[in-house]
Symmetry: C2
Subunit: 218 residues, 2 copies
C-alpha cells in the first residue's frame, strides 16, 4: 500500500528510525560506562557506533527524499527521550538486557512499518535489521550473570517487563498523537484500534521469545 504517498510515509518512518537510533546511540554510549571490564565496554561502545551508522543512513535517505532530518525527527524526540529517562539501567546487567530487549523491539517495529515505505527505504530498514551481531554477546553475558547469581533472574525478569511496558505505553501515545502514522501503520484512516492491538500483541510475543532465550520469564 501507500505507494502514492510514499515520500510522506517514508519520511514518517525514517523520522522514527533516525531519532530512535540517535537516542539508542546516546543510551548505549552512556550505559557502556557501567561495564565492569574494558572488553565489555568495548563491545557496547561498538553497539552504540552501529546505531549511529544506522542513523546516518536514515539521514541520507531523508535528504534524498527532499526531507529535513531534524524536522523528521522532531515529533519522536519526546517519546524516545521519555522512554529512556524512565528506564535508566542501574547495573551493567540491566543495561545489557535493555540493549538486547530494546534493539529487538526496535527491529520488530521497523519490520512492521517497513512495508509502508518505498523499495529503497524498505531496503535500508532491512539492512539496519541485519546488523544484529551483538545479540549473541548480550545473550551470553546475561545468561552467564544469571548462572552466577540465580537470584538475579527475578529482578531481571521484572526489569524486562518494565522495559516492554514503558515502550508500549510510549508507542501508544505516539500513535494517539500521530493519527497519520497510525493510519499508515494500520491501513485505516486515523488508525484501526483492533489492528494496533494485533500489532502490539505480535511485539509482546516476540519480546517474550527473547526473554525465554535469556532464560527469563516474560
Amino acid at each position: 500500500m501507500a505507494s502514492d504517498d510514499a515520500p510522506g510515509a517514508a519520511l514518517e518512518l525514517l523520522g522514527v528510525v533516525a531519532y530512535g537510533e540517535l537516542a539508542a546511540f546516546d543510551r548505549l554510549a552512556e550505559d557502556a560506562r557501567l561495564a565492569p571490564e574494558l572488553a565489555d565496554r568495548v563491545e557496547m561502545t561498538g553497539m552504540a557506533a552501529v546505531q549511529y551508522a544506522h542513523f546516518s543512513k536514515a539521514e541520507d535517505r531523508i535528504v534524498e527524499l527532499g526531507g529535513d532530518v531534524l524536522a523528521a525527527m522532531e515529533p519522536y524526540r519526546r517519546p524516545f527521550d521519555e522512554f529512556h529517562a524512565l528506564t535508566r539501567p542501574k547495573t551493567w546487567h540491566e543495561g545489557l538486557l535493555k540493549a538486547y530487549i530494546g534493539d529487538g523491539l526496535a527491529s520488530d517495529v521497523y519490520r512492521e512499518v517497513s512495508d509502508l515505505a518505498d523499495d529503497s527505504t524498505r531496503e535500508l530498514v532491512h539492512e539496519v535489521l541485519a546488523a544484529d551481531r551483538f545479540d549473541d554477546f548480550a545473550v551470553s553475558r546475561v545468561r552467564a550473570a544469571i548462572d552466577a547469581d540465580p537470584d538475579s533472574a527475578g529482578r531481571l525478569a521484572l526489569w524486562g517487563r518494565r522495559l516492554v511496558g514503558e515502550a508500549m505505553s510510549q508507542a501508544q501515545r505516539v500513535l494517539a498523537e500521530r493519527p497519520a502514522l497510525a493510519g499508515l501503520l494500520t491501513g485505516a484512516p486515523n488508525g484501526s484500534l483492533a489492528e494496533i492491538t494485533r500489532i502490539m500483541a505480535r511485539l509482546v510475543e516476540n519480546h517474550s521469545a527473547r526473554m525465554t532465550r535469556l532464560g527469563l520469564s516474560a
Copy 2:
C-alpha cells in the same frame, strides 16, 4: 628508525591511539548531551562515531600484528581517564572547545609518533588524521558564541589553557612511567628529556595556533 622492533613500537603507538579514541568517543557522546539544539547534538554525535571508527581500525591493526587490544590499551587507561575526569565541560561551548582542542592535540601527538611505526601503521595513523571534517563546525560555533557574548572569550581562553595544561601533565606522567615509549619517541634509550621538551614545545605552539584560529588568546 625502529624498523627492527616495529611490532613493539607499533603496538605501543596503537595502544595509545586505541584507548585515546575510545575515551574520546565516550566523552564526545557525553558532551553531545550539552548541545542546546538537536542539530548540534547530531554533529557532536557524528564526531563521537568517527572516534569509534578510528578505534576500530587501530584494533584491527593490533590484531594483525599479533597483539591484544585490551592489553595494548591497558597502560593508557589511567592517564586518559584522569585527563577527562579533570576536564569535564560544564557548558556546551566548553565541550565544543574541548572537542576541537583535544582532537587537534591528539592529531599532533599521533603525527609526532607515527614515524616510529611500520608503513602500514603509519598509513593508518595518517588516515585517522585526515578525518577532520568537524573542525570547521567547532571553530564556527565557538567563534559565533564569542561574537554573541564577548565576555565569554576570557573564560574560554582560560578553559583552553587548562585543557592543554592537563594534557601535558598526563603526557609527562605517561612518558615517565613508560621509559620504553619515551625511548621510542626520542630515539634515545629511556628517552631524552631535551627532545621531550622540544616535542612538548611544538605541541603547545600548534595549540596556540588553534586558539588564535578561534579568536582566543592561548
